[in-house]
Symmetry: C2
Subunit: 194 residues, 2 copies
DNA sequence: CTTATGGTAGACAGGTCTGTCTACCTGTGT
DNA sequence: ACACAGGTAGACAGACCTGTCTACCATAAG
């Protein structure tokens, strides 16, 4: 029965995501997940290892989802723009599987673990590398890109900026605004291509 | 003697900033600030109102600092690029008054208070509006900008993206990378100007 | 000299936190 | 028939949390 394990992770994610990892207690998770305390501690060593599992779970869900959105479009520029369309859906709560938007779980969690060598911080860092790799792969399909590394940096940064803007400023249009600049970056010959 | 009050706010900021507001207890703040508990509660009603004061304090410090960096340069494009130079100094801990970099305190705090109507969330939102206004003012000095509102959006988003990238990916070059795009945005006639 | 102000140290109440443990229940494979 | 895996409920220890309170100290103004 891995059913309970999954239930724990999903409930913990929901609570951690919306209130922060330190603000949520084990007992709250147990109550909402309808799971006994003993069961939790048979699956996980501690709250910290539950958090680790939650980070892995969200990483997989999120990357899979984004990958699918990318795969729907033609490789290259359309696929890259699809990233921003996906963000737009996420920000406006049109992706139930990601749950109600409250920024990026990994940015949020990272801010609670400033120590770069802590487990959570490193997992967040690795998640961001994986997402960056998705963009990188699509960009590799484009010819004549003047400075591909910088362009990946810019698209990633634009993505992070849109997430934060949607969260803190409450600007639900953030993804579409960012998309417009992304499109120009991928079109303007003087900017990114020779 | 407002001295103790200031000491409390500065110590609380440091701890909140690097560990999150929920992870830090009152007693820890008192110990590090060398202040008695009674004194804290004579200045503030509760931990929540201390946090409010800390948010105001950081807002003022940060906005003043950025404004000064902007004022050093010629109004318009040089002033706007100075924002990214300032970020670069911040990310690389060359601004002692802002304390060791751990992302944006307001983004970090916001993620612990998802409820849009909560006090902390609103204060974070207002801080971001003030920073945006600084950029807006400089942009107003430029002529022939095709879509000034969108351009402010882009510069702000780029700034947020750089902060998050420096924090989570540990990319200390983030500000300079963003600066390069900002410069193109403010130069390319086909992009932002007629 | 007295009174007010602003501070110290820290005990304390009442609650919450994590993690352990006892005692019990249920379904399945052999 | 029986062992066992995996679950339930929840008491409990020990630590830590916020916020109140007592008792005391120092300085400065009237």
């Amino acid at each position: 029965m891995t059913d309970k394990r999954r239930q724990l992770i999903e409930t913990a994610f929901d609570l951690f995501y919306h209130h922060g990892t330190h603000a949520v207690g084990i007992n709250e998770i147990l109550k909402q997940a309808n799971v006994a305390k003993k069961t939790l501690y048979s699956h996980f060593d501690s709250k910290a290892s539950l958090l680790e599992a939650v980070l892995h779970y969200r990483d997989e869900r999120f990357v899979d989802w984004l990958q699918q959105r990318i795969n729907r479009e033609q490789a290259g520029k359309p696929a890259l723009l699809a990233v921003f369309d996906a963000l737009d859906d996420w920000f406006n709560d049109r992706v139930p599987s990601l749950t109600a938007f409250n920024g990026c779980f990994f940015i949020n969690t990272c801010s609670e673990y400033a120590d770069v060598w802590s487990g959570p911080h490193q997992l967040c860092h690795e998640h961001k590398k994986r997402v960056r790799a998705l963009i990188e792969t699509q960009l590799a399909r484009l010819d004549q890109v003047r400075d591909p590394v910088w362009l990946v940096d810019m698209l990633s940064m634009l993505k992070e900026g849109a997430i934060v803007t949607a969260q803190v400023q409450g600007d639900r249009q953030a993804a579409l605004k960012a998309r417009r600049l992304a499109e120009q970056l991928l079109t303007e010959p003087g900017l990114s291509q020779k």
